[in-house]
């Protein structure tokens, strides 16, 4: 187990380094920060002076090292727009994003677990067809459009829910459903195939032969075992889930990291963009690690592979 975790940790460090390199390259190789800082009519000397001031005249690997070594201690520079450290700005916006992500996950499970199980138990029935139809439609649905449609129906027409913002539990309903609907199709398919596979196993027969009631067989014996692939894939999908949160946040004006990132992009506030991107990536990678370890703990067969 220890070796397994160590191997995953090495993998994590490599991926984080890669992401930091990517974030650095996007700003420093593709673009020139000075070009964005100075007015367009600034002279050549002015450009050279700023380059020296920001250390941009030094070789790229020196710049990258400087960027990396300060990023490790949480120093991503000051926001060019708000005159506060970028790190603080991003950290403040983190909780709403995390709440949204987890409530989206919750909704997805709420939809996918019963429907997927039912589809697996009644294969080729109308429930199964319905699930397939919902899954196919759900995968083609542009998340931001779904959000707007929800707002038009529930906020504008029915006036039942707040259209945007953050605060009460009512504010959570639409964004969480929106994000959950995006994740539900793939989760549902996994639950379905997982339950189908488990139901043909020997221990299910044993449980039935013992006289365990059928609902118990399904919930305690089948569903539990079907959960392993679901957890693995959901962990791997966490990045996509956060990506979905980015889209959901912008539609519902949710005050999270994603809205901050989009605002900062509009203001060309790169320290904030860089910081947000790296912190989100860090969260994704850590979640992946935790899921890997958890799955390894639950199912020893995976550790060996």
């Amino acid at each position: 187990m220890r070796r397994y975790i160590a191997r995953q940790l090495v993998q994590l460090v490599v991926v984080v380094l890669g992401i930091s390199l990517l974030a650095f390259a996007i700003l420093h190789v593709l673009g020139d920060p000075v070009l964005l800082l100075l007015p367009q009519n600034a002279g050549k000397e002015e450009f050279a002076r700023y380059h020296r001031l920001l250390g941009l005249d030094r070789p790229l690997y020196v710049q990258y090292w400087k960027f990396l070594s300060s990023a490790v201690v949480g120093d991503f520079g000051k926001s060019w727009y708000a005159d506060t450290p970028a790190f603080k700005l991003v950290l403040e916006r983190m909780p709403p994003t995390i709440y949204l992500t987890f409530s989206g996950l919750f909704v997805a499970l709420l939809i996918a677990l019963p429907l997927g199980t039912l589809a697996a138990l009644r294969r080729h029935s109308w429930v199964d067809s319905l699930c397939t139809a919902v899954a196919v439609a759900g995968q083609a649905m542009p998340l931001f459009w779904l959000g707007i449609m929800l707002i038009i129906v529930f906020a504008v027409r029915l006036k039942a829910l707040p259209a945007s913002g953050y605060g009460t539990w009512q504010h959570f309903l639409m964004p969480a459903f929106c994000l959950g609907a995006a994740l539900a199709p793939i989760t549902m398919r996994l639950v379905r195939s997982g339950v189908i596979e488990v139901m043909s196993m020997e221990f299910i027969k044993t449980a039935r032969a013992k006289g365990v009631a059928e609902p118990m067989v399904v919930v305690k014996h089948a569903l539990r075992n079907a959960c392993i692939p679901v957890i693995t894939v959901l962990g791997l999908q966490f990045g996509q889930l956060l990506g979905g949160a980015v889209i959901t946040e912008t539609v519902f004006a949710w005050p999270g990291v994603a809205t901050l990132t989009v605002e900062s992009i509009r203001n060309q506030d790169f320290p904030v963009v860089q910081c947000a991107v790296i912190l989100l990536a860090l969260i994704i990678v850590s979640v992946n690690l935790v899921v890997d370890v958890l799955v390894g703990l639950i199912d020893p067969r995976i550790r060996a592979a």
């Binding site: 991926v15 083609a140 449609m149 790169f270 994704i284």
Partner: protein
């Protein structure tokens, strides 16, 4: 409903003691056929969409940029206050929504196809290299894949667009360059198994060059897998493109694109729901039929694969 493969499978099933298994193969072929039907239907719808945007100049009822001041924010024709002149209504400056949607399809389809061609090329080349050469090359490419797959595609696209500035070309480049890991991962895995097959070993024994082995012996076996992924990816790219345009980071107004029309419609959704609804519906239907077609294509090309 019997196809060529069904009788053989039935015979095998009859040997076994489990009666319920008997109908399984026929059921499966039935489902397969149904999915193919769906796929053909979806293909027809997609053809109509493609034809509409290709022939937009002749089909569109109005010029997509023509302003009709008398009919600003007029609702669809079947509602009170709608005019027959503008079937799906107009936007805040009185431009015809239907015409803009027909033209808007061009952007989405072109971006989708070009970006997918780019990322498929990059991804297939890297995947072949990783699978064929192995070792350090494989490690480097796999790390790249892990980095890219960890990272939300949306965030990456946002960050790059922020630096490069929004435009059609930049968006195609971003979507094209960022999409390669999916192809690379699948192609690498397939290459790993094909590399050990007899015909490749035979080719190597005959003294074929690496390039010939990779492109003439291995690559042709991967075409169907690549085509299926690419088809499904077109839908994903279209959704992403419209999201970027929706945020104002993609196609710039006044050029009509489904994404920026939706973004514009969001500002007016309190009173004029149709501006946001119809372009979104167009995106939804297009991605839906592409997905259906991709699924059917997968069944048709390789019924046993579990992609």
């Amino acid at each position: 409903m019997s196809t060529v493969s069904a009788p053989g499978k039935l015979e095998l099933a009859e040997l076994g003691p489990v009666r319920t298994q008997e109908h399984e193969p026929e059921r499966a072929t039935l489902r397969r056929l149904l999915r193919l039907r769906w796929g053909v239907g979806a293909g027809v719808v997609l053809l109509v969409i493609v034809a509409c945007s290709a022939l937009a100049t002749w089909i569109a009822p109005h010029d997509p940029l023509a302003v009709d001041i008398r009919h600003r924010l007029s609702p669809p024709a079947w509602m009170d206050g709608g005019t027959r002149d503008h079937l799906l209504g107009t936007d805040p400056v009185g431009r015809d929504l239907l015409a803009r949607m027909i033209y808007g399809g061009r952007v989405s389809l072109v971006v989708g196809v070009v970006a997918v061609l780019m990322s498929a090329t990059i991804g297939v080349l890297l995947g072949l290299a990783a699978g064929y050469f192995g070792g350090n090359v494989d490690w480097l490419i796999m790390t790249g894949i892990n980095v890219m797959l960890t990272f939300p595609f949306v965030l990456l696209a946002l960050a790059v667009i922020a630096v490069l500035g929004p435009s059609l070309g930049n968006m195609i480049i971003v979507l094209g360059v960022a999409g390669w890991p999916i192809y690379a991962r699948v192609v690498r895995a397939e290459t790993l198994t094909i590399r050990e097959r007899e015909f490749v070993l035979a080719g190597r024994a005959l003294g074929m060059s690496h390039a010939r082995l990779v492109f003439r012996q291995i690559l042709p076996n991967l075409v169907s897998v690549i085509v299926v992924i690419a088809t499904l990816q077109v839908a994903q790219v279209i959704i992403l493109e419209s999201f970027l345009s929706f945020l104002g980071l993609g196609i710039q107004p006044p050029t009509p694109a489904w994404g920026n029309m939706l973004g514009e419609g969001r500002l007016y959704m309190l009173n004029s729901w149709w501006i946001a609804t119809f372009p979104g519906l167009a995106i939804f239907v297009t991605t839906l039929v592409i997905n259906l077609m991709g699924n059917a294509l997968r069944d048709w090309l390789d019924p046993h694969s579990k992609l």
